[in-house]
């Protein structure tokens, strides 16, 4: 943490949709206060001007999906004292990690007229699979207030308060009626990390696990329950392999449900 003056902030993009970077710009009411405490030194989504590194804090959006990215993330680590991944892509590989279960060459041939122009890795992986990460902030996209909390905690020199318990904690505190129990809607909230403020259940929808598995997630029990209530195996595999399917224990449980020889229930 900088003793005086402003901390130098860098924001990087890898394979991603830019939504998490936009969460920073969405901090409309807090942006001026933030700009007083940090110098936005590198943030191509927001400004063309670039101050050279090293930087105090680096925020990384996106997964590592190309050979070029696998090299660049090492440079990014070198120039940042405190490296934070923001969002599902950077933290779990994101939605593009679905390729990890598929034939990437076949995808290229199907999608692109000239597949030979495409240089990509066979897998999309989280940043932490490549370099040491100081803090991982979950979400698809991240919650902007959690982002502010991480930056504020860094500037104050304290631990950020980012709970790792289930979405149900936020849902019950909000006074929602449980969509699973009262409506029969399959919901991943019980095994998903809090952070969104139970957004989907507040609008009578099941949780999609945008924030990845909670610290104590037991997907097997929940999925067994879903099967008893009529969901098919492929449905369960698709539910687990959403935004964070490549994070454990979602990965292992979805693999088990995909392979026919393991039976539950």
């Amino acid at each position: 943490m900088p003793v005086d003056g402003q901390a130098k902030l860098a924001v990087y993009k890898f394979s991603s949709c830019d939504g998490c970077q936009l969460s920073i710009l969405d901090l409309e009411d807090e942006l001026l206060a933030l700009a007083e405490r940090v110098k936005i030194a590198y943030f191509l989504e927001a400004r063309r001007h670039v101050d050279p590194g090293p930087y105090d804090v680096g925020l990384v959006e996106g997964s590592i999906s190309t050979p070029e990215e696998a090299e660049r993330i090492i440079d990014v680590r070198r120039e940042c004292k405190f490296l934070v991944t923001i969002g599902a892509c950077a933290t779990s590989g994101g939605i593009q990690a679905l390729r990890n279960w598929a034939d990437v060459e076949e995808y290229k041939r199907t999608v692109y007229a000239h597949p030979d122009y495409i240089r990509s890795l066979d897998t999309a992986t989280p940043v932490a699979a490549h370099v040491l990460v100081d803090f991982e902030l979950r979400g698809c996209p991240v919650n902007k207030y959690q982002l502010l909390e991480v930056l504020g905690a860094y500037l104050t020199g304290r631990r950020p308060q980012i709970p790792t318990y289930s979405v149900c904690m936020e849902c019950k505190r909000s006074g929602n009626v449980c969509v699973m129990v009262a409506h029969g809607t399959p919901c991943l909230g019980p095994i998903t990390q809090a952070g969104c403020g139970a957004l989907c259940p507040s609008y009578h929808r099941g949780c999609y696990a945008c924030f990845g598995p909670s610290d104590s997630a037991g997907p097997r029990s929940l999925c067994r329950f879903f099967m008893e209530r009529g969901l098919a195996r492929p449905d369960i595999v698709r539910m687990l392999r959403g935004f964070n399917g490549y994070l454990e224990p979602f990965k292992q449980t979805s693999d088990e449900y995909e392979s026919d020889h393991i039976r539950y229930g």
């Binding site: 807090e30 289930s166 929602n176 009626v177 909670s214 037991g218």
Partner: protein, 383 residues
Amino acid sequence: MVGNLYIIEKARLDDLIRLLREDGCRVVGPTIRDGAIVFDEIASAEQLPRGWTDVQEAGHYRLERRTDDAYFGYVVGPYSCKRYLFPPRQRLFSITRNGRPLSGFDVDVTSASPPRIAFLGVRACDLAALEIQDRVFNAEYADPYYRDVRRSAVLIAVNCSEPGGTCFCSSMQTGPRCTRLFDLALTELPAAFAAEAGTERGRALLERLSPQPADRNVQHLVELMLESAAEHMGRALDTRELPEILLQNPEHPHWNRVAERCLACANCTLSCPTCFCSNVEDSTDLGGSRAERWRSWGSCFTLEFSYHTGGFSRSSVRARYRQWLTHKLAGWHEQFGMSGCVGCGRCITWCPVGIDVTKEATTIADDVRRADVAERGARERSR
């Protein structure tokens, strides 16, 4: 008049709500929201779920139409009075730098004047839960917010004549009849309410509702209805020696079987009317000039709950479930002189995967009791 049974017309219910509001109370009563009957602020009897009932099973809750137009023909919803006395999130105080050399900080202790609440339709299990919460929050070291809301709260209770699928208050000896704490207790009859005042405040309210003394037939009918309700609980729990059995069998294999199903999601504890744990967190603003301290509902099912220097003392889900159940059904007796469970069934209904506290405790207890009997038999044979 206190303690005697009276009859009031059903139409007086709306008058009762109006009177309470005129007295400056927010009336909090059952009403339908998002497919469930929840406690919320109401302004008239029209907002009550008249003609509706709830079907409750483990991990299952649905509303259904009744064949009659009863006002209180259902049991408890996902939340209890706890929400109003011990709010899910509350700012305790804030500190702001004032730039002065000596004092340095301004401290603002949250002292919002608490609302005066009249709870309408509180059931016997929830009254028992209030009694428990009183020992937690309103005893030697009182929580000021709880104390203030509780002191001014008006409690209009309703006796349960039709228990729900996950109810077991008769096992816990907390219901279905309201026996304490209430200002006014109603029993819904087909064409009227039987009403009993429990306090002077309740008597004063009742007097304004044109009460007629109930004759012996009505008294007898109320008795029969509540006796029948006690015999038709959806669940049961044999509490004989249960605290000893649970505390003496921390390694029983059934704890593992529950842990395989438990999601550690904390729904049971947050819907429980007696669970009182909270988490206290400090936050700072970006400029470093202001800090706030917040209290929010916590749960022994979270990993962070047992975090201390050296790590987590209950990292397994098994340890957390066992902690919760043994505290609720056993440790509570030592701590507060009563069980922590009132038999409302919320933890059963609102568990997303339908884990049933009565079944889990019974499985362990029956197993231990059977083993005890077998051991005794073997001893006698060998004599």
